[in-house]
């Protein structure tokens, strides 16, 4: 009788979505090929907190379903990975079937695929592009250069991962990643968008804080 009632966990988080506690380097064996970052989480839903109910909650999820199935990516190739990104969009690995359409302007796009090495001279333009994109927006760091500097980690002019500049949702490893890996990354992003909509009333940082 003296036992304190254990507090139920406020949300269910799949095991592989946790970020490691220290460092930005991932153990790919445990986490699967594609790992997830914190990303730019959407603000808590106003409708849902004002009138909690079944229908409004479902509306959020419905919107997320629509969003996740029509991700427009910014046409934005930086380096070598851009070639594989183009390959993914082209005939053999038709990206269109996931609803992923490449779009030349940041004003109408949802996803920024950072495909290549981010150097310090390019840092400001990248942040500017990210700020030009309307909310909700997501970022995929494609390849090891965008994840943590990759083969250029020793260089004087390379940013050690694009997550120093903008929040990243999905990290796709590889140098360069195969088109299949990028497709997997998009699928993971879709999963994440739907998950975030289901748990939108949780404070943005709850996902990581509840774990520690």
């Amino acid at each position: 009788m003296n036992e304190k009632p254990t507090q139920p966990s406020p949300l269910f988080v799949p095991e592989h979505w946790q970020r490691p506690k220290q460092g930005r380097f991932f153990d790919t064996k445990e986490q699967g090929a594609v790992s997830l970052g914190k990303g730019n989480r959407p603000a808590p839903s106003l409708i849902k907190s004002a009138a909690p109910g079944v229908i409004t909650a479902r509306l959020d999820e419905l919107a997320a379903l629509a969003r996740s199935n029509s991700l427009w990516t910014l046409t934005f190739g930086l380096a070598c990975c851009a070639i594989e990104m183009i390959s993914t969009h082209m005939t053999n690995h038709d990206f269109d079937r996931y609803g992923v359409v490449t779009w030349p302007s940041p004003r109408q796009s949802d996803v920024m695929i950072v495909a290549g090495t981010v150097v310090k001279k390019m840092a400001e333009p990248i942040r500017l592009l990210y700020e030009q994109m309307p909310d909700p927006k997501w970022v995929i760091a494609m390849g090891s250069c965008a994840t943590n500097g990759g083969p250029y980690w020793r260089s004087y002019s390379v940013v050690m991962g694009v997550d120093h500049l903008i929040p990243v949702d999905v990290y796709v490893p590889g140098c360069p990643p195969r088109p299949e890996a990028l497709q997997d990354g998009i699928l993971k992003l879709q999963e994440k968008i739907r998950h975030d909509a289901r748990n939108a009333d949780v404070a943005p940082d709850a996902l990581t804080e509840t774990r520690s």
């Binding site: 390959s87 082209m90 290549g116 250029y152 360069p176």
Partner: protein
């Protein structure tokens, strides 16, 4: 009098670094007088990764991977020129089979690179369809690369003294099957795009550069040959097994965008014929010389250049006798081709600027290194 006042005001137009048609992170500031470009200032360095400095701290075997990432459309050609520089310094003789396989794969990579150009150049001038076809053929070539080297893009296959390993047993059959496909694809793109009336209007007589300016700017490769200078390293300073192969070097007349485009179509055909010759001549034997694992070239310096899909790539290597180069400098063909962009753009219309930029086929990874 208002008209004269208005003519004084030039308009500045910024293009890039993120622009769907700049083939990477290239930025240029155009000064316009009405529709006409009166001044142009290119800005590069948005992909400057410091490769040349990094090379000074890597052993010779590791540098091959950095060369892969320099010109990321023609990886094998890049590997070859670096490896040749080290081999010449060490005085290594590469087995014939390895040389044939190197040349064969390099020519395949040249076709793949030109296919990418044909497709994206169509996109630049507004033709959406060809890129779908050219990428279909490009995937076939990349499948061959994958079966031989294990990677689609960054191969790290050509090593100092030979190649990583022998090709798989069904290599010849695979290449022949893919070549049939690619040959058909190149013809198809040629018929679809080259003599299309809209395409001709967009490219004929646009971005003309004469031979003297082109040579002074350091323009090389198909861009230089389009201006009528028959300079090709494979012919003029033959390396590896190119002396054994018979091929023609296409040369243009006017040096406009269409000529530069059509040089690539013709080079695709030549490369395909070279690959077939290599397959016929491919000898048996070892693919690697007996050499130490860690290359230590003797003290000295060497300059080696070779023909890349984009032009004449050179490597200047200074060795101090250790396992790391003392200084390594690359002559990137795209860098020099970009110098020629300014004379091409001046006095042309702003609507043609993308067609001109696309026609010199730059790779920013190589421009900035």
């Amino acid at each position: 009098m208002t008209t004269t006042d208005q003519r004084q005001v030039d308009m500045m137009l910024n293009l890039g670094p993120q622009h769907p048609a700049t083939h990477g992170v290239f930025r240029m500031l155009l000064t316009l007088d009405g529709e006409r470009i009166v001044d142009m200032e290119p800005h590069i360095g948005y992909l400057h990764r410091g490769s040349e400095k990094l090379c000074e701290n890597e052993s010779y075997g590791q540098i091959v991977t950095l060369f892969d990432r320099m010109d990321y459309i023609a990886n094998l050609n890049n590997e070859l020129v670096f490896v040749r520089a080290v081999e010449r310094l060490m005085g290594l003789e590469v087995p014939e089979r390895a040389q044939f396989i190197r040349v064969l794969l390099c020519e395949l990579n040249r076709v793949a690179s030109h296919l990418l150009f044909l497709g994206t150049y169509g996109l630049d001038v507004g033709a959406m369809t060809p890129v779908m076809y050219t990428f279909r053929e490009r995937e076939r070539i990349q499948n061959i690369f994958e079966s031989v080297t294990g990677a689609r893009l960054m191969h790290n296959y050509i090593r100092i003294g030979g190649i990583k390993e022998d090709v798989p047993s069904d290599f010849t059959a695979r290449v022949r099957a893919a070549l049939e496909f690619v040959k058909r694809g190149v013809d198809e793109t040629d018929r679809l795009l080259s003599f299309n009336e809209v395409f001709l209007l967009r490219t004929k007589g646009v971005g003309v550069i004469d031979a003297k300016t082109a040579v002074s700017c350091g323009l090389t490769g198909p861009n230089l040959r389009a201006s009528g200078v028959p300079y090709d390293v494979r012919k003029d300073n033959p390396y590896e097994v190119y002396p054994y192969l018979t091929f023609k070097v296409p040369v243009g007349e006017r040096g406009d965008c269409w000529d530069r485009y059509y040089m690539r179509v013709l080079e695709c055909h030549e490369s395909i014929s070279m690959i077939e010759q290599c397959l016929d001549l491919l000898p048996d034997g070892p693919t690697m010389t007996q050499t130490r694992r860690i290359a230590r070239p003797p003290k000295g310096e060497v300059y080696v250049h070779a023909e890349n899909p984009r032009g004449d790539i050179g490597v200047f290597l200074v060795s101090d006798g250790s396992d790391k180069p003392y200084r390594l400098k690359v002559r990137p063909p795209s860098f020099c081709n970009l110098v020629a962009l300014r004379p091409m753009l001046l006095n042309s219309y702003v609507a043609d600027s993308i067609a001109i930029l696309g026609s010199i086929d730059i790779v920013l990874g190589e421009v900035d290194r």
